[in-house]
Chain length 411, copies 2
């Protein structure tokens, strides 16, 4: 994989220049993209800034995120060739930092569940996950050192786990969603994919303009970690349980205290109403597409929106109150632990390309708006990942804990 931190170190040392760094991505794309299906558009002659903290970093932009110089097609024939007027706010920020938005990455239509044409880089007979399929696969396959995804249920953490790369879904609205096609305004969150925790930490600190989010030089001292199984979401595969235990032991080896933690019932209640919030808002956000082009939507999305037509405002309002109560309970919980350690997905990437997998271990955290990090757990076969969750606004702590476990796992 291409590591953002490694590339930037080489550029700073003068052994690589930004043009050369972007050429590494171009070469990798030429060699591997044809069999991957991760990209839907590659910029032919982008400006490559010489300066800036992300100069030389080629970035993949999920194709529901507006770009003024590349089409933005939402993974849907409805938006074939569509050219937005302006860059999304996050794309403008990337450019201001010197990065090069090099490619638009494949997405499920409107960031929903109907699969894109992308395959898992580790085994083309398996899904890469979704909906940020192309972004995860492109980083995992070494095409790009950084890619943007979005998560409304589990569309960042799940594909990162399936593809074996680091990712962060930051605190809600830490990164601006202006210019990102809306599915659910209370949930949609921009996330970052990178080769390792250090890469996504550095990218997030720069994009959010909050240097303190980057990893502290001395690491994090003896974090208190709660091990969470999310029973309300049913059980995970034995391999996922084993990976979670490996990560827990690695955390302890790194000096953490790990204790089993049963989540209060208010969190199970919130988990259960995530889809009510999502679908009530999706019905409004995609009302034009549904009213005028229902037959052209993917079958999964069409079925979801068909079902959403029956949701009433009272159910939605009740769901928002349930979520509000759960956020308070979770805030109190983070007085007792620094981070939670839980599953990123029910198991390895499922076989087949007709489903992008299950977001059941991700929904709650997206609804809570708290930062979530996927950390790959090294091993044989298709990748497995674990999820580190921290308090709202404490993205730096989630990353520091993830980095400590990552380092321990590598020893």
């Amino acid at each position: 994989m291409l590591s953002l931190v490694d590339l930037r170190t080489r550029i700073s040392a003068g052994t690589l220049d930004p043009v050369g760094a972007v050429a590494l991505s171009r070469d990798a794309i030429a060699a591997r993209e044809a069999s991957l299906g991760a990209l839907v558009h590659v910029a032919s002659d982008p400006v490559i800034p010489r300066d800036g903290p992300l100069a030389g970093i080629a970035v993949g932009i999920k194709d529901i995120i507006d770009t003024a110089d590349m089409p933005t097609q939402m993974g849907s024939a409805l938006y074939a060739g569509w050219r937005p007027k302006a860059d999304a706010a996050i794309v403008s920020r990337l450019r201001a930092l010197g990065a090069v938005p090099l490619a638009k990455t494949a997405t499920c239509p409107f960031a929903s569940r109907d699969p894109s044409a992308t395959v898992n880089p580790h085994d083309s007979a398996h899904t890469p996950g979704g909906s940020s399929a192309g972004s995860a696969a492109a980083v995992a396959a070494g095409l790009l050192p950084l890619a943007l995804g979005t998560q409304t249920a589990g569309s960042v953490i799940r594909p990162a786990a399936f593809c074996g790369i680091a990712a962060i879904k930051p605190s809600f609205r830490l990164l601006p969603t202006v210019g990102v096609k809306t599915f659910s305004w209370a949930l949609d969150t921009i996330g970052l994919f990178g080769a390792g925790i250090r890469d996504v930490a550095q990218a997030l600190a720069l994009l959010a303009d909050r240097p303190a989010l980057d990893l502290p030089a001395g690491g994090i001292a003896a974090p208190r970690i709660g091990l969470v199984l999310q029973d309300f979401a049913d059980s995970a595969d034995p391999e996922a349980v084993a990976a979670l235990q490996r990560a827990a032991r690695a955390a302890e080896a790194a000096g953490a205290t790990v204790t089993d933690l049963a989540l209060p019932p208010q969190l199970a209640e919130a988990w259960a109403i995530h889809m009510t919030v999502q679908d009530f808002e999706a019905r409004q956000a995609l009302a034009w597409e549904y009213a005028h082009h229902r037959e052209a939507l993917g079958p999964d999305l069409r079925a979801e929106l068909d079902g959403a037509q029956a949701l009433d405002a009272a159910s939605y309002d009740a769901a928002r109150r349930t979520a509000h109560r759960a956020r308070r309970v979770l805030k109190d919980l983070f007085g007792e632990v620094d981070a939670l350690l839980t599953f990123s997905a029910p198991g390895r990437a499922p076989a087949g390309l007709t489903s992008t997998g299950d977001a059941r271990f991700n929904r709650l955290w997206t609804l809570m708006g708290v930062p979530c990090v996927n950390l790959p757990v090294p091993g044989d076969g298709l990748p497995l990942g674990v999820q580190i969750v921290a308090r709202f606004g404490d993205d730096g702590r989630a990353l520091a804990v993830a980095r400590a476990i990552e380092a321990a796992l590598a020893r």
Copy 2:
């Protein structure tokens, strides 16, 4: 003015049909728009549904709100002729209810402060207010029975006050902002303009799909009203103070208890940081326009964004915490009173067309996300309005209190 409720009553009674109702708007536009400057585009041959609870209601759409069948030009030459792909969610909702989005209304560029070409319908030498200038002026001049605006500081309540019409800025995100050009995602709120309180109440209940928001048949019994001067925002003109007192006496005549209420200091603190939240987000939301077309921005907006470049994330994060504390204090306050009665603007519409007036009595409430209603106070000369504010989510109560005072003022 054209009253939504009156038109709907006539249509239900069979004395008017939807085509005829829309023709009333077309005729009024033909007669008065040339001297008003309220509209930037009128649909030439829109579909006029026969059915639906808003059939026959011609609606003005502020020109930062996406329409698939009309240009959306943001009040800026940068977006001259721009055609979005899809309708904004609120436009889709209007169409689903049978309404006819008939015209795009003039707006300050990007809903900021540089004036549009609109004049005040009561005196063309005075500003109609902004940024939803065209929407307010079009309803006040009798061109349309309903218009959509947006408020980030005071862009709905202020122009409604200056133009002498009813308006509501609903609770934050009660109406979806998907497809509305963002200025500040924590503040931007869609609002409604109508001839009277009954008109905006009926429109809001339908658009939000929450019938309980419409006015209760029996009115509201003996509301407790807090009279608020917002001293932290400096004093209002003597005429505005007199109008506020008139409204208070009318409220008492309608059975309300009105008591002077000094707001806790946390609310003054929140008022003071509204601009920090607004400008830090505007810098990101309009980053593409600023980076590529700074010289083409209006001078006020350019100056605002110039200043915003120096804001740091720490100030923004602190401002959000200040706002969060104030929301809790305000919630407690609404345990003691049903509604607040305060100024909609510092006075009547100022003379001249170089400024849209001052939003200082509006900022706090937008930041708090609470519902605000403008109620015109009848009198001589240019209009004066008062503002009724209720608890977050209690839009129906704000409207019921406003209606009670409106009825008492008319007696």
